[in-house]
C-alpha cells in the first residue's frame, strides 16, 4: 500500500485535523462504556480512520468490525469540545468497507468457530503485519465480550445471537427501501406472519423446549426467539392519506410531511395523529406520493450512493417548483429520518446539479416536535389520564439535530402528565437503526441499562419521538421490565387534545387509532 494516504481521504482531512485526542468523547460513548476498549470508542475509531486515511492501515474486516460496532448515536459529537464531525468520519469509513456483513458476520460466527478450532489459535498471534494479511482473520481473541458481565448489573442472560446476515442488509438497503411499494409489501408480509398459524407453530415447536422453557443461550433457536420477541404489533392498516389535507380552521401554514418507511407502516396511527395535530394547528399538510425512504439507513450502512439517489427523489418530491408547491417546512416525525434529511446538503455537496437544491431542502426540514412547539398556542395542550412520564431523547434528535427542549416543553403543557427525567435520557437505547439486528449482544446490554434508568424514575409511560426507540423500548419493557407503556410524542399529544374535549379532525380517531397497549410479557 502506498504511504501517500488513501485516495478518498481529502474528504475528511479537515475533520480529522480537529481531533486532539483529549478523550472527552469516551464517557459519552455507549460502546466504550460497555466494552472499555479504545478501538470501540470515538477517539479510537478516529485514530483508526486517520490511520487508514494516512495509508498506514488497510481497511480490512477488523477495521470494519470496529466501525460497525459504533451505534452512531453521535453523543460524542455533543461531548466534543473541538466540534469533530465524527458521524461523517464513520460514514466515510463505512462507505469504504461497504455495507455490514463481513465484519458483523465474522463477529457472529467467531465464537462458534473459535470453539471448534480449539487450540489451533496458536501461531495466529504474531506481528501486526502478519495478522492483517491473514485471510479474514476469524479472531479467537478480540471480538467477543466474555469478561464484561460484571460491568453491567442486571444483565439478563442475553445469548450471543447471530446477527442479521450481510446479504439481507444489502438486499434491504438496495432493493427494498428505495421502493415504497416494496416496503409496504414487506411490512404486509411481516404483519401476516406475525398473526399467522406458522408463527405459533414456530414458537411452540422450535422456540420452546418440551416444558415451554426458552431455548438454550447461543443457539440459533435463541436468536430466533429474540427476533420473535422483537416482532412488534402491526396496525390494521397502513398510512395512506390523500396527497393534500386542508387545515382545520384558517390556514396558517403549508407543510410537507415525510411518510417514512416504519412510520408509514408500523406506526400508521402515529402518522395519522401527526396529520391531525398539524391540521388543527392551522397547517395544510402535503404528503407527496413521489417521496421515498429518507436514505438514513443507507448512509449509516456504507451505501452513500443509494442514499443520494433517494435524496434526489425526495428533494424533487417536495420541490417548491414541482406539483407539491411552496412549503413553509418539510416535517418529519422520525428523528433518524429528520437528521438524515437535514444532512442532504452535505450528502449532495459534490453533485453540482443538485447541491443547491439539496441545501435549500435541508434548510426547510424540521422535526415535528420543533414545529409544533413553535406553532401551537402557548397554553395547555389538553389533558390525559394522570400519569408519570419520562422522556427518552432519540439520539438523532438530541445529538443529531440538537432538539432537546421542544419535546419537553410540549409534554410539560399536558395536564395530568408529570414529567420525570431519567438519568442519561440522551444515552442510546441500543436500537440505532438496524444496530439491534446486526449487533444483538451490545444492543441488549445497552437496552438493559436503559430499562434500569427508566425503572429508577417510577414512570409508567416512556415518550420517545422516534419509531426505532419506541420498538426497542417496548421490547425492553417486555424483556427486562418495568412494564411501562412506550408512546410517540404525537400520540400523547393527540390523546391530550382529545381529552380536552376538542373535536378530533377527520382521518384520526377512527378504528386505527385504538393503539394496542404494549404487551407486558
Amino acid at each position: 500500500m502506498s504511504t501517500a494516504g488513501h485516495p478518498d481521504a481529502s474528504a475528511i482531512a479537515g475533520i480529522l485535523d480537529k481531533c486532539v485526542h483529549c478523550g472527552f468523547c469516551l464517557s459519552a460513548c455507549p460502546t466504550y462504556d460497555l466494552l472499555r476498549e479504545e478501538p470501540d470508542s470515538p477517539r479510537g475509531r478516529i485514530a483508526l480512520i486517520a490511520a487508514v486515511a494516512e495509508g498506514r492501515l488497510e481497511p480490512g474486516d477488523r477495521f470494519a468490525l470496529h466501525m460497525y460496532r459504533c451505534v452512531g448515536c453521535l453523543a460524542c459529537e455533543t461531548a466534543c469540545p473541538a466540534g469533530v464531525e465524527y458521524g461523517r468520519l464513520v460514514e466515510w469509513a463505512r462507505a469504504l468497507v461497504g455495507p455490514p456483513g463481513g465484519a458483523a458476520l465474522v463477529e457472529a460466527v467467531a465464537p462458534a468457530l473459535a470453539a471448534r478450532a480449539g487450540s489451533r489459535a496458536e501461531g495466529r498471534a504474531e506481528g501486526p503485519g502478519d495478522q492483517a494479511q491473514a485471510p479474514a482473520g476469524i479472531p479467537a481473541e478480540g471480538g467477543t465480550m466474555d469478561d464484561r458481565e460484571t460491568a453491567l448489573p442486571g444483565r439478563v442472560g442475553a445469548a450471543p445471537a447471530p446477527s442479521l446476515p450481510g446479504w439481507a442488509v444489502q438486499a434491504a438497503l438496495r432493493h427494498v427501501l428505495p421502493h415504497p411499494g416494496r416496503v409496504r409489501a414487506a411490512a404486509a408480509l411481516a404483519r401476516w406472519f406475525s398473526r399467522s398459524w406458522l408463527r405459533r407453530q414456530i414458537q411452540q415447536g422450535l422456540l420452546a423446549g418440551p416444558g415451554g422453557e426458552p431455548p438454550a443461550p447461543g443457539t440459533i433457536a435463541a436468536s430466533l426467539a429474540r427476533v420473535d420477541a422483537m416482532l412488534p404489533e402491526f396496525p390494521g392498516r397502513f398510512f395512506d392519506p390523500p396527497e393534500v389535507l386542508p387545515a382545520l380552521g384558517p390556514r396558517r401554514y403549508r407543510v410537507g410531511l415525510l411518510s417514512g418507511c416504519v412510520m408509514g407502516t408500523l406506526f400508521a396511527p402515529s402518522n395519522e395523529a401527526t396529520v391531525t395535530l398539524l391540521r388543527r394547528a392551522g397547517c395544510e399538510v402535503v404528503i407527496p406520493r413521489a417521496q421515498t425512504c429518507c436514505g438514513a439507513l443507507n448512509v449509516h450502512n456504507g451505501d452513500p450512493e443509494g442514499a443520494r439517489a433517494m435524496a434526489r427523489r425526495n428533494i424533487q418530491a417536495f420541490h417548491p417548483d414541482g406539483p407539491c408547491g411552496p412549503l413553509d417546512a418539510v416535517l418529519v416525525n422520525a428523528a433518524g429520518c429528520g437528521a438524515a434529511m437535514k444532512e442532504y446538503g452535505h450528502l449532495l455537496a459534490g453533485d453540482p446539479e443538485w447541491a443547491e437544491a439539496a441545501a435549500a431542502f435541508a434548510a426547510r426540514v424540521r422535526d415535528v416536535t420543533e414545529f409544533l412547539d413553535e406553532v401551537l398556542p402557548e397554553t395547555t395542550l389538553g389533558r390525559i389520564e394522570p400519569c408519570r412520564a419520562t422522556y427518552q431523547d432519540p439520539c438523532h434528535l438530541a445529538h443529531g439535530q440538537g432538539v432537546r427542549s421542544a419535546p419537553r416543553r410540549l409534554l410539560a403543557r399536558i395536564e395530568g402528565l408529570e414529567l420525570v427525567e431519567m438519568p442519561g435520557s440522551d444515552r442510546c437505547c441500543g436500537s440505532a437503526g438496524i444496530y439491534n439486528l446486526v449487533q444483538p449482544e451490545i444492543s441488549e446490554r445497552m437496552l438493559a441499562a436503559k430499562m434500569q434508568a427508566v425503572a429508577s424514575t417510577g414512570a409508567d409511560l416512556v415518550v420517545a419521538p422516534n419509531p426505532g426507540c419506541i420498538l426497542q423500548l417496548r421490547y425492553g419493557a417486555q424483556r427486562y421490565g418495568p412494564p411501562v407503556r412506550v408512546e410517540h410524542l404525537v400520540d400523547v399529544l393527540a390523546r391530550a387534545l382529545e381529552g380536552s374535549g376538542a373535536a378530533a379532525g377527520p382521518g384520526a380517531g377512527d378504528g386505527s387509532r385504538s393503539r394496542e397497549g404494549p404487551s407486558h410479557g
Binding site: D17, A47, E58, P81, A82, G127, P128, Q131
Partner: protein, 517 residues
C-alpha cells in the same frame, strides 16, 4: 549517602547497558529505543493468564492505543486488560521474565506522554478496573480501582452530599489511577489541594510482581510515606491497583463569577490582587483571548469574543459570607478595568461556564491540529509579567499561544498551537516550549504543576534539581525497579525525551516499526 550514590551509579550503568543493548539487538530496522523481547512467547504466556481476549495485538488495537492526550505516539507491542490486582501482578511477573517493559495506562488523557510506549512493550490498560470497591461515608473514604473515571466517584456519592475533590479539567474522562500517577490537580486545587492530599492508601504491584499495601484507611500512617512517594511517580515505581481516597462533604452554597477584561495583563493583575487581598476563592481560573476563540463557539458560555481575557472565580462554603467576598471581588476587578462581572444565574449557567474552562484543551482543535501544553507554576505575584513574556516568546517563534490555566495557583498552561505536518514546526514549538520553561524557572517557579513529566518534560528536571538531588531520585527508582521495565524512560531525565523522540516520529521510521501494513 554512600548507598544512594551507589544505587544511582548502578542506575546509570544499567541504563547505559539498556540503551546499548537495544541499539545493538534491535538492528537498523528498529528505532533505537525499542526494547527487544520474545513477543510471541510473551503473548502466549499472557494469554494463559488473562485469556486470549484480553491480550491484543491486532494492528487496529495497537493503533488505537498509540496516542494519549499528548502530541506523541508510539505503538505498543501488546495491549492487555487485567481486571484485578492478582491479574496485574501476574502480568507484571510474566513481562519481567521476558524482559518486556510494562506501561500502565488509565484513560489515556495525559498531556505529557506518560503512557506512550516509547520503548515498545506491554501496555497495561486499567480501563476495565473501574469498580468502586467500598464506600464508608461515616469515615468519609472510598476504595476504588484505578480505572474508575474521576467524575464517576463523585456521581456515586453526590446524592448523599459528598464529593471527591480533585477535579482535573478532564474529569469526565480521566481515571483516578492516572490522577494518582500524575498527582493531578484541578480547577478547585486552590482550596482543596491536589491528589496527594486526598489519597490515604494504595495497593500497588511492584515491578517484581509483589503486591504491597501502602498507607491506611485512616490518615497519617506511620513509617516512611510511601503513599506520598507513589503519588506522582507516573507509574515508574509500580502499578496502583486500588486507591483509598478521602471524600469531602458538599459545601452549603456556591457562587460563580465570570469577569471579563480587556487584556491578559489586567486579568493577571486581578488574580494577584485578589490573593493579596487575603481572599482565597475555591477556584480562580483564566481563559485568554485566543482560547476564547475556541471555547465560546463550542460552549456558548457568553464570554465576549472580542475581550482580552476572562476570569472564572468561584466561592464555596457558607452562603452567609458570600456578599462580603463578592464585594471584594467586584472591587478588585473594577480597579483593574474589568469590562463587567456577572454571577452565574443557575446551575446550568454555572455548568456552561465550567464547560468553557474544562473543555478548553479539546476545543483548541478548532484552532490548530496540534498543541503542546506547558504546565509550569510561577509565583502569583509574577503572573502578569510572565504572561507578557510568554506571548513575546511565542511571537518570536512565529507561533500562536493560547493560555487557559489555574491562575489562583500560578499554574500556567500556555498551549502552543501548531501543525505537526508542517516541516520544522514541531522543532520550533519544542524550542519555544523550552524557553517558556526556562522563563518560569527563572521567575522562581517550577516545571510542572499537575500534568506530570512523561517524556515531554523529563529532561527539564536537570534544570530544576542539582545532580545530588537527581541521584536520590534515580536511587529510589532503582530500589523499586532495578531492571527499568516499569514505564521506562519517563519522569526522570532520559535520552528518550520529547525532542529525540519526535525526531523519530518521521513517517519512514513509523513504517519501519511495522505499521504500514
Amino acid at each position: 549517602m554512600a548507598d544512594v550514590a551507589d544505587l544511582a551509579d548502578r542506575a546509570d550503568k544499567a541504563h547505559s547497558a539498556h540503551i546499548a543493548g537495544r541499539a545493538g539487538a534491535a538492528g537498523a530496522a528498529d528505532p533505537a529505543f525499542r526494547v527487544p523481547f520474545d513477543r510471541a512467547g510473551l503473548q502466549r504466556e499472557l494469554q494463559a493468564v488473562l485469556g486470549p481476549e484480553r491480550v491484543r495485538s491486532y494492528p487496529e488495537d495497537l493503533i488505537a492505543y498509540e496516542n494519549d492526550g499528548s502530541v506523541f505516539r508510539a505503538l505498543p507491542d501488546l495491549v492487555v486488560f487485567p481486571t484485578s490486582t492478582e491479574e496485574v501482578a501476574s502480568v507484571v511477573r510474566v513481562c519481567r521474565r521476558y524482559g518486556a517493559p510494562v506501561i500502565p495506562r488509565g484513560a489515556g488523557t495525559g498531556l505529557a506522554g506518560g503512557t506512550i510506549p516509547v520503548t515498545g512493550g506491554v501496555l497495561l490498560v486499567t480501563a476495565k478496573m473501574n469498580r468502586i470497591l467500598h464506600v464508608d461515608l461515616e469515615s468519609r473514604i472510598a476504595v476504588v480501582q484505578p480505572g474508575l473515571v474521576n467524575i464517576d466517584l463523585t456521581r456515586a456519592v453526590m446524592g448523599q452530599g459528598y464529593f471527591y475533590a480533585p477535579d482535573p479539567s478532564s474529569q469526565l474522562a480521566c481515571s483516578i489511577g492516572g490522577n494518582v500517577a500524575n498527582n493531578s490537580g484541578g480547577v478547585h486545587t486552590l482550596s482543596y489541594g491536589v491528589t496527594t492530599n486526598h489519597v490515604l492508601g494504595l495497593t500497588a504491584v511492584l515491578p517484581d510482581g509483589e503486591v504491597v499495601r501502602l498507607g491506611a484507611a485512616a490518615p497519617d500512617a506511620p513509617g516512611l510515606d510511601l503513599v506520598g512517594l507513589f503519588v506522582g511517580s507516573e507509574g515508574t515505581l509500580g502499578i496502583v491497583t486500588e486507591v483509598v481516597v478521602r471524600l469531602m462533604r458538599r459545601r452549603e452554597a456556591v457562587r460563580t463569577f465570570l469577569a471579563v477584561f480587556e487584556s491578559v495583563r489586567a486579568a493577571g493583575q486581578t488574580v494577584s490582587d485578589i490573593i493579596a487581598s487575603g481572599l482565597v476563592p475555591q477556584a480562580l481560573e483564566m481563559i485568554d483571548d485566543v482560547t476564547i476563540q475556541a471555547v465560546e463557539p463550542a460552549v456558548g458560555a457568553g464570554i465576549p469574543m472580542d475581550c482580552g481575557a476572562a476570569l472564572l472565580i468561584e466561592l464555596e462554603g457558607l452562603a452567609d459570607g458570600f456578599d462580603a467576598q463578592e464585594a471584594v471581588i467586584r472591587r478588585v476587578c473594577a480597579a483593574n478595568g474589568a469590562r463587567w462581572v456577572r454571577v452565574a444565574e443557575d446551575p446550568a449557567d454555572r455548568d456552561r461556564l465550567w464547560a468553557a474552562r474544562k473543555g478548553a484543551f479539546g476545543a483548541l482543535g478548532r484552532l490548530a491540529p496540534n498543541y503542546l501544553v506547558q504546565d509550569a507554576v510561577v509565583p502569583r505575584s509574577r503572573l502578569p509579567e510572565v504572561l507578557d513574556e510568554i506571548r513575546a516568546i511565542a511571537a518570536r517563534y512565529g507561533l500562536q499561544v493560547a493560555n487557559v490555566f489555574h491562575a489562583g495557583d500560578g499554574n500556567l498552561h500556555p498551549n502552543l498551537l501548531f501543525d505537526v505536518r508542517k516541516p520544522g514546526e514541531i522543532q520550533r514549538v519544542l524550542a519555544a516550549g523550552e524557553e517558556i520553561v526556562r522563563l518560569c524557572i527563572d521567575a522562581g517557579g517550577t516545571i510542572s504543576g499537575e500534568h506530570g513529566l512523561g517524556i515531554e518534560k523529563n529532561a527539564y528536571l536537570e534544570w530544576l534539581f542539582s545532580p545530588e538531588t537527581l541521584d536520590v531520585m534515580k536511587a529510589v527508582k532503582t530500589a523499586f525497579d532495578p531492571e527499568r521495565l516499569m514505564n521506562p524512560e519517563k519522569l526522570l531525565p532520559s535520552p528518550v525525551s520529547c525532542s529525540e523522540f519526535t525526531a523519530k516520529m518521521a513517517p519512514e521510521v513509523l513504517a519501519e516499526m511495522g505499521l504500514w501494513v
